[in-house]
Subunit: 455 residues, 2 copies
């Protein structure tokens, strides 16, 4: 890696090529992100279209078009032809329409048709992520015939971990493992060693569902089929890894009220203006929601004026709602993402969270009540406060319990409600939930305290 | 699945067995979680130790000991012997010490020694997650000899997607693909077709690092070695999937101030008291922190009394800090989890977040200022408020900008600081950050407003 950086600095093409060939393309792609324009040009031209194919396939999407524009048409033809079919579709999906047309003209007839047919599927479906480069044999072959077919295709095939058996119409009828070909005599009929095909997924299914199926059943490849059970391609374990990581990142970001698609580029290579764009909408929107809490506080200024000691615990009551609601929402959203909760379990979830919330509210409420009754009177500030400590303790504890209980139930139910109306449960971000229960917290606090303290 | 439920209800053993054999063990394990005690006993005894092996390996950890206690020693011996070595170690790690001793007595001498040696590694290291069941050959074999060796071991081998070449001391020297064995003539020496071993990981390395390496380089198996490069075992792609999912869940939960280990049991099968235990500590702890905000508010009661209109925007200023700080912290924590940020980039992150925070603060501040200057005076409540609207707009906008800017920088820097002192960056949960910037928000708001409005 050091050799490579030195070669880049001194523009030493042969040293660069030697160094690059020793480095994994995933590392070369990571390095490419951090180069300036001139370095990128020199780097790509030196390593040439063959090696660049692997590097380009690993680049974050926004950099792909720019990278490809460094190549001449003849080189591009090689590079686009070398790409695996799913990577090629990714490239076509992310470049501008003009570029797409230009690239199409460079493809061979077979690749052109294949790419067109794959582009039909949505990016985030099983069909949009699958590769068609899979070992296919028929049941009437012998092991020897199968090996001959697979050997011919092997350079084009992404994985031979599973080899699929199809009938004359291309319908999936079974699978064999490469080890079963290797360990059986050459005249064994495939029919005798093939197993049932097992789990499959529809091309139109969501990519997350496909990845979870692969993960649940510990598969290396998951066959993707159409509604007539024709084998269209496979989703591989590395696609599943990528999909599940993307979905986790998406959930984490949504929970923190960050909107839009996650950047394919790393954090540091994303500009401040792009970071800004993903955060500003929620921040400003929630700001206006918070005026509702302010309005409640303003309306209850009479109560506050009569007993300013109440302000000591106002932020606490408000924050406790946001915190406990956020905890409940997070647990439920993650459980939904992992497929542990469906809309049908809403009542069970509500009952579990009601008990959890009640105990949480009582724990916090009683802790604070003990603080007010036993510790606060002995603090330096007690003289200024001069309040009815026992009564204040009761009022604050009641308000906290009510607030935590209601926020916990609300936090757990909103994601389920969102799913019920076909929204992503993770739209119920912790901040938006907090802003909502801020309002209820103010109302609960002032009415409870007002009633108990006779204000 | 319906057949199986019916067989369970009618206690029809033969129907149950027939149905269970048709169902994937991952589905059987999910079903088992939801059975009552008597059903579990009947289910396990009916399917017998052979089929139960796969089911037990898929169970959440807390259920494993209970499940195994349904079997008699002779059956347990079969079941423990059938488990793959990494699953067996998992079982030994989660059962009580007494049970562990009892189980050890049931193992054959080879399994006993292997299990003991694997138990040396921490649960969350590459060594603790690896399987030793991997195809091993030497460079001086021919393809035919290699196939003979692998065929003998194949039932014990988790994956033959990669076969590793070791020297006489067991040091890793290369790898071959099963396809290269299948597609070459039987007298080809392994030496001629083997490739470099490529990426490896130390047994003592963190499991997350191992999973990320496997994912980054699109490997099916990652060889686990000791410091002398002896091949100890492999981490497989399905382990990596599991590890990365666990780590994502952990980060999501920590960000929401949920403490402790995630439950291996699904959300609905976790008791309310366990849910309570994971949330109560942070909730109560943060409650006490919030008293600090309350104290600031209490100290500034004079300012508030003079201009109660300020309460209209107090929740907004406070919440904006928590929201923007939480956004920044989440972005940075996720970027660190994905390996995009190291401690060395702290200054770059600070500069990026300072700009992002400034623009966010100005956006929210100016929006609210516009609301105060142009809309608020025309609302129904304006008559009650009777404030100096232009001056109020300036005061609130300044406070918001300062609060968002400082909270954004703090939110981004705290996770990096946590990593620097060897803490998990995700300990900087959104709620704990919010409670911290609540205090600064109160201070900023009252001092800024006090100065600009001459209170």
């Amino acid at each position: 890696m050091d050799d490579l950086m030195r070669a880049l600095e001194t523009s030493d093409a042969s040293a660069l090529l030697t160094a690059a060939e020793e480095i994994h393309y995933a590392d070369l792609a990571a390095l490419y992100e951090n180069l300036d324009d001139a370095e990128r040009d020199f780097f790509l031209k030196t390593i040439g279209p063959e090696l660049a194919t692997d590097v380009v396939a690993e680049l974050p999407y926004p950099l792909i078009e720019e990278a490809l524009n460094h190549f001449k048409p003849a080189q591009l033809r090689v590079l686009l032809g070398n790409l695996s079919d799913d990577d090629r579709v990714d490239v076509f999906q992310v470049v501008s329409e003009d570029t797409q047309r230009r690239f199409f003209a460079l493809l061979g007839p077979r690749d052109k048709q294949l790419t067109k047919s794959l582009l039909k599927y949505d990016e985030d479906t099983a069909g949009g992520r699958m590769t068609t480069q899979v070992g296919r044999i028929t049941a009437d072959m012998t092991v020897k015939q199968a090996i001959t077919v697979l050997r011919r295709d092997r350079e084009d095939t992404e994985t031979l971990a599973r080899i699929f058996v199809v009938d004359e119409q291309g319908r999936l009828v079974g699978k064999v493992r490469l080890r079963d070909l290797a360990f059986n005599t050459w005249d064994t009929p495939i029919r005798d060693i093939m197993e049932e095909a097992g789990e499959t997924i529809l091309a139109s299914a969501d990519q997350e569902e496909a990845a979870r199926t692969l993960s649940k059943y510990d598969l290396i490849v998951l066959p993707v089929v159409d509604e007539f059970h024709h084998l269209l391609g496979v989703l591989t374990y590395d696609d599943a890894l990528e999909i599940l990581q993307e979905e986790s990142t998406e959930d984490i970001e949504k929970l923190a009220a960050i909107s839009g698609e996650q950047s394919e580029v790393s954090y540091l290579n994303t500009s401040a203006s792009q970071h800004y764009q993903r955060r500003v909408a929620w921040l400003v929107g929630l700001g206006f929601v918070s005026i509702a809490s302010g309005y409640v506080m303003y309306r209850f200024s009479g109560v506050l004026e009569k007993a300013f000691v109440l302000s000591l615990f106002l932020p606490l009551v408000v924050a406790a709602g946001g915190n406990s609601g956020g905890q409940a929402a997070t647990m439920v959203i993650r459980a939904m993402a992992l497929g542990e909760i469906t809309a049908g379990s809403a009542m069970k979830v509500a009952w579990k969270e009601a008990r959890t919330g009640l105990f949480l509210g009582l724990s916090l409420g009683l802790s604070i009540a003990a603080f007010i009754a036993f510790i606060l009177p002995h603090l330096h500030t007690a003289a200024i406060i001069g309040a009815d400590f026992p009564r204040l303790a009761i009022a604050v504890a009641c308000a906290i319990t009510l607030q935590v209980l209601s926020a916990t139930i609300l936090g757990a139910m909103l994601p389920i409600a969102a799913r019920a109306i076909k929204l992503d449960p993770a739209v119920v971000s912790a901040p938006s939930l907090a802003s909502t229960v801020d309002v209820s917290g103010m109302l609960i606090y002032f009415t409870t305290a007002g009633a108990i303290l006779h204000l």
